[in-house]
Symmetry: C2
Subunit: 367 residues, 2 copies
């Protein structure tokens, strides 16, 4: 078992990564002084609950906790205010109070949804993340929680740090292949923004990672979480550095939104976004190898690096305008400098974005 | 003009109370370094907007701000997730970004709703309170923001302090009489929990306050805000002392909920709740004069002190169970010790509450 720490003063918390952790949930709860006097709400989704909910319930109950649960539909569409209200109803009917804990047992969707419930139920209660996807190594760390608005992703949310992250890697064995790839996209991102060696390690271990080799996974998730934890520790509420975690996300979020949160998985959308960022860097004078290395790495994981032709360029632009507000026709973008290093660029123009969309559709001229 | 300060370290902020302040909104915005580069969203309701919105818009625009507005239906029903989503849509369509400011121009309903929008739009933007009711001298100070859940009041919210409170007492002249009384109920509460002299001042100046005498109002609001500011400064997130602000609110919130948020105004419901708290204190051995003085004071303002017979006792109890969770059949209550002083009692039983409900219906035996 590995333990990392997210260092945030009196809101610091540990990330436990290892096997068989769900069946020890109760012990971890007690160790973290979460009260047994108030009910615990476990939020999960229809795919995950049948597999793992009972294990968590049994362990918590054995440690003296009373539990209630709320199982939502699987998929990004559950990150909505309607489902948020459903979960709130479960919290109220389950008799939760100000001292209660809300648990997210699931991927990034459940984590973001349950986290916003924890942030706003009675103005904030304790929160525990139990990630069950690879992608959630990213989403479960850092305290960003949110639901989507019809017009743009993650518009409605809070910063609400968990009391701990309990990452049982056993659960990953049941992940559908497409979600495996999608999750690895964020792992690669952590290499690309921060750690050249780790990026190349990902490339060289693509097959093991895709085959869900436990040792490779544990290593990759620990490294990924560790990059995330470092960045978040130095800039909790995204005043500066934390923005680098958004590599690929400006265009990625726009693609998710215009795909109706159904066409692309999050990791797929940001894979395209990372390819776009690399192309933008090249368009601005970086060596073409940055684009080639980035897309080759992503392609090794079967991740997409082009924009499907049927998507409308101006719809992508307009979704992006909602997401991260251009100011005076300029927008902040994260661009690679080389593998393992990025820069925050704040003068990207709409025309440059229009150009890269065309390039990623194979319509424009590659530089 | 009077200025008070809510003392919360780097989240401290001023409360400005005076005449003609709305027409100086823009100057106050500039003075508080709120950026002119990002659009400002003004949230108001259908009664208030026709009277005061244009003044604020004109002043902000004259100072270089771009404004958008969202006008919701008047009344407690607008403190819902549905209306919250509407306001979020206005924020997104209005092009707000992370540096934007959300303004609440209205009473407690608009303040709580707009405040929760400010707390959660893009995970939190600046917030300015421009209260237009007497009641809002309470709600605009302290950073508690929330919407209601069908099952219980204020269940979904956050702590989100404003950058300033701009309280233009001129607006109070157009308040409907019932809202004047309702608002004075919270003013009286501030006397009852903290300041004997102020409580008696309220009693002796009831006629001037009800007649909206500007001098009396300004004095009463300043004293009321000052009690609130002191309590909040010493306990921002209600770990202890802040609970005394809930005098009358346990039963009050239950009455509001079972009245479908339509039968009672907030101040009316807590007036009944304060009478109930005084009766509970007497039932527990305090001198009967505490009940008589409290109800006489409230009656001088035309505020209700009895529970209407048509309300079902067990429905009141069950709404209360949702609101402030009984633990092992006991609940925290704020009870008067004497006029100007309260205590936090944490062993109130359901049976004692049942008894007081009967007493306030005129059914039970008064002690
Ligand atoms: N908060 C953050 O900082 C942050 C960071 C990155 C991503 N995100 C968000 O995360 C979300 C994507 O997360 P995700 O990819 O985990 O999506 P997800 O939660 O929808 O999970 C993907 C799919 O896998 C299923 N699943 C989950 N665990 C499983 C398991 N162990 N076995 C079998 N099936 C399982 C789910 O039911 C779902 O169908 C997006 O909404 C994204 O915006 C948030
Ligand atoms: N956040 C807190 O700490 C806190 C504290 C106390 C109360 N509250 C909340 O405040 C709410 C009650 O506030 P309220 O009584 O101000 O209600 P409100 O906002 O509904 O205003 C009362 C009525 O007066 C109208 N109105 C407002 N200003 C006016 C004006 N200047 N001229 C004419 N009409 C005007 C409104 O349209 C409304 O019909 C409740 O939801 C309560 O829970 C919150
Ligand atoms: Zn992401
Ligand atoms: Zn109140």
């Amino acid at each position: 078992m590995r333990t990392l720490t997210v260092d945030l003063g009196d809101r610091s918390y540990p990330i436990y990564i290892g096997e068989g952790l769900l069946s020890k949930s109760g012990e971890y709860f007690l160790q973290h002084q979460l009260t047994t006097k108030s009910p615990v709400l476990i939020v999960s989704d229809e795919n995950i609950a049948p597999k793992y909910l009972q294990t968590v319930v049994d362990s918590l109950q054995a440690s003296g906790y009373q539990t209630v649960s709320s199982v939502v539909k699987a998929g990004e569409k559950s990150k909505s205010l309607d489902v948020f209200e459903e979960v709130m109803t479960a919290a109220i009917e389950g008799g939760l109070d100000r001292k209660s804990t809300v648990v997210a047992l699931g991927g990034g969707v459940v984590g973001d949804l349950a986290g916003f419930v924890a942030a706003s139920f009675m103005r904030g209660v304790h929160f525990v993340q139990m990630p069950t996807t690879i992608l959630a190594h990213d989403s479960s760390v850092g305290g960003k929680v949110a639901v989507n608005h019809r017009l743009a992703k993650n518009m409605i949310g809070a910063f609400h740090q968990p009391a701990m992250v309990l990452y049982d890697v056993d659960t990953l064995q049941s992940l559908p292949e497409r979600d495996v790839r999608s999750g690895l996209s964020e792992m690669i991102k952590h290499g690309l923004i921060w750690d050249e060696q780790f990026a190349y390690w990902c490339r060289d271990n693509a097959d093991r990672l895709l085959a869900l080799d436990r040792e490779a996974l544990t290593y990759g998730l620990t490294e990924g979480c560790s990059v995330k934890a470092k960045v978040v520790s130095s800039d909790e509420t995204e005043q500066g550095l934390r923005a680098i975690l958004n590599l690929g996300h400006t265009i990625g979020h726009a693609l998710e939104a215009i795909g109706g949160y159904g066409e692309f998985l999050h990791g797929e959308a940001i894979s395209i976004g990372m390819a776009a960022a690399a192309q933008l860097a090249v368009n601005r004078g970086r060596d073409r190898s940055i684009y080639e290395e980035t897309t080759a790495l992503l392609a090794k994981f079967g991740l997409p690096t082009t924009i499907p032709g049927h998507l409308n360029d101006e719809e992508i632009i307009s979704a992006m305008l909602h997401d991260k507000k251009f100011k005076e026709n300029q927008i902040v973008f994260i661009l690679p400098v080389r593998i393992g290093e990025v820069e925050i660029v704040s003068d990207m123009t709409l025309d440059e974005v229009r150009q890269v969309i065309k390039q990623l559709k194979g319509e424009g001229q590659h530089v």
